[in-house]
């Protein structure tokens, strides 16, 4: 009986086993390893300055799946991409590397920037100026309007970038406990109803800082870096009743950079300010 079963099993295996002469297909897979196109000078700059050293992808060609499919958006004008790359190097990458060391951005990297030509409008008509997803991808809008020699334009774009990068930093090493409770009473999902002066009078540096504790933290960092110490001090003086709150927040930020990353925040501020001045003049 046993022999019969074994025999039958062998027969079964023989009949049902795979056809041995079938080879694995050797046709190439389309777009394996990402979409390809004939590389231009711009692609080479991106490869040499961002992909090779940092593994940061800069996507300027249209890819709807990187963006909000429910909104109408357009890709950037190609001529506008290089000025953004140049500014990225000078106002974001170089200052961090100079103060934090050449390997700093390799330890806390962004994985990609998506460049979009237009703003993204919300259904209420308001617009999104920049967006970060998953602490690794930043979408930059209004690339077609970017003017490298215009300080407000540079400030607008790089406020977003420094804001989002600060998120990556605090997601790696959390901001200090002391930050908690400073402005909790003012955090609200309807932050957009507060104009600048209202937010400032409550001890928050921008209206968006009112949206949550972590947004408050990164908005404070972005403001101190982009608008600079003078503007920050001016707000402190303008609202003396909350100046101690602004001072406390500033101290926490400086201490956080020192303790967590061994970065002199004052130096970083100076580097970013010098870069903005140089690039926009």
């Amino acid at each position: 009986m046993k022999t019969l079963i074994i025999l039958l099993m062998v027969l079964l295996i023989c009949f049902c086993s795979c056809k041995k002469d079938e080879l694995l297909p050797n046709d190439p897979l389309l777009d394996l390893g990402g979409e390809r196109w004939k590389k231009t000078k711009l692609d080479e700059i991106i490869y040499n300055d961002f992909i090779k050293p940092y593994n940061i992808e800069i996507k300027y060609k249209w890819n709807p799946y990187e963006l909000n499919l429910n909104r109408t958006l357009v890709p950037p004008i190609e001529n506008q991409v290089y000025p953004v790359l140049r500014a990225l190097k000078e106002v974001w990458k170089n200052p961090y590397e100079k103060v934090g060391g050449t390997s700093f951005l390799k330890k806390f990297p962004l994985s990609k920037f998506i460049l979009t030509g237009s703003p993204e409008y919300q259904s209420d008509g308001s617009e999104i100026v920049g967006l970060a997803e998953g602490g690794s991808k930043i979408i930059l809008y209004r690339v077609n309007d970017f003017l490298i020699d215009n300080r407000p334009s540079v400030e607008a774009m790089f406020h977003t970038i420094h804001h989002e990068f600060a998120h990556i930093l605090h997601q790696t090493i959390h901001y200090p406990q002391e930050w908690r409770g400073i402005s909790t009473e003012w955090y609200t999902p309807t932050w957009f109803n507060s104009p600048n002066d209202v937010a400032n009078s409550q001890g928050l540096i921008t209206p968006y800082a009112k949206s949550s504790e972590r947004e408050d933290f990164v908005e404070t960092i972005a403001f101190l870096l982009i608008r600079g110490q003078e503007s920050y001090d001016w707000i402190k003086e303008e609202y003396p009743e909350v100046s101690h709150i602004f001072q406390l927040k500033e101290n926490i930020v400086v201490k956080y950079y020192k303790d967590a990353f061994n970065i002199d925040f004052r130096e970083l501020q100076k580097e970013v300010q010098t870069a903005i001045y140089k690039i926009s003049n």
Binding site: M1, L4, I5, L8, L11, L12, F15, C16, C18, K19, E22, P25, D27, P28, L29, L30, D31, E35, W37, K38, T40, Y60, K61, W62, N63, P64, R71, T72, L73, V74, P75, P76, I77, E78, G117, S118, P119, E120, Y121, Q122, S123, G125, N144
Partner: protein, 424 residues
Amino acid sequence: MKNIILLKIILMLIFCSCNKKEFSRIRPDKKLIEINTKYTELLTESENGWIGYLYPTGGKAYTFRFVFNKENRVFTSGTLDERYTANEMESSYRIVADQIPTLSFDTYSYLHLLSDPDEYVYGGIRGRGHISDFEFSFIRSSMDTIQLKGNHNGSKLVLIRANSTQDKSFIKKTYEINNIVKQINDFPLYHKKIIINNKEFTFSITPHINAMCFYYMEGNEFKQKTTLFSPNNNGIRFKDSINLAGISFQELSDFKINPLQNAGSFKINNQLEVKIEGIEAPLFIDKNAGNRFRQSSKQFYSPTMFTINGHHEALMLRDLDGFIGGYYISNITTSGLDALYLVYRTGLRYVGPLFYSHIDDQGVLKFNKYQEASGIIPSPAELVILRRFNDVWFNSDGYYVFQSGPDDFDLVNSKNAKIWVRFN
């Protein structure tokens, strides 16, 4: 017994086991690469490129010329604006293996102006632009025609292989032809008659929305055929072919327009010459158009208001400082009053009459004045201009109404075909 069951199972397994030839078909990636190569070759091998007729879902129609090369670069020119007729804009494209093979214009060119959600770039609706597309799925293709459909908004794009005469000067010539076609509205008389295959038609052309309408009778019934068109270096090309008096055609060419003579001509299918004749009275009346006009929820706009004897700014309403145009709003009150507001001072002020509208059994729309000047009280000088307008608007003869586009209407004085106004 056990052995028999076992044997049966084995036999069943043997007979039902997989067909070994299942994977010998063409693999999807091989097919994708083939399709990609086929479309790339099709697009790039046309020396003079492709003429693109774009019909955005948001309306209107535009003509482009695209020259594709094998380095993923495309050179675009278009009829969007006279400034874009001379210079091609270089940008990039690629064939994307999406759910359907897709032609993606993946960096900004003139084509993207229509999709730009920033209304300050090229007008349109904030957040949506002109509801157009720049990524298109291949629907059908032959050696000289490619039909595509927008992935985001479903706009229609037809690419037709450019012939040897359609070189770099194509768009410039197209723009010039379009300007000739526009002159049809400079005829002193509104009604224009044509005869095709011994059958009479009247027609209207509204160039800034790229719409053409043919009016005729079928038995005792008024009929109308409306089509969007885009211009080319011969004349105009319809979105879809149209059939009139047994002749099917998609292009009108060789426009010759002589406004002062109320006359002109064009050719159908590049062969049949059709004479245009301006006439004093309509051959066909759309008795229901007045109701459709009033029942539309749209706020109708006319930048110049009345055209009289071929002059588009006949009433000199630009004498109102910063005049923007006239807006017709029906049923502005619950009692059924309609309003015609003249908007000026770049939109800060508006003034105009309130009136009851009445449509008689001949389809003539008449306005009965209720209030001479509603809105923001005008200065005495502005009131003089308003009265100049009201004198024409409240003409007791009333207006025939003709639908001149998808939701666009012309009002023509019922006794004097030299007086008309176009609302879009």
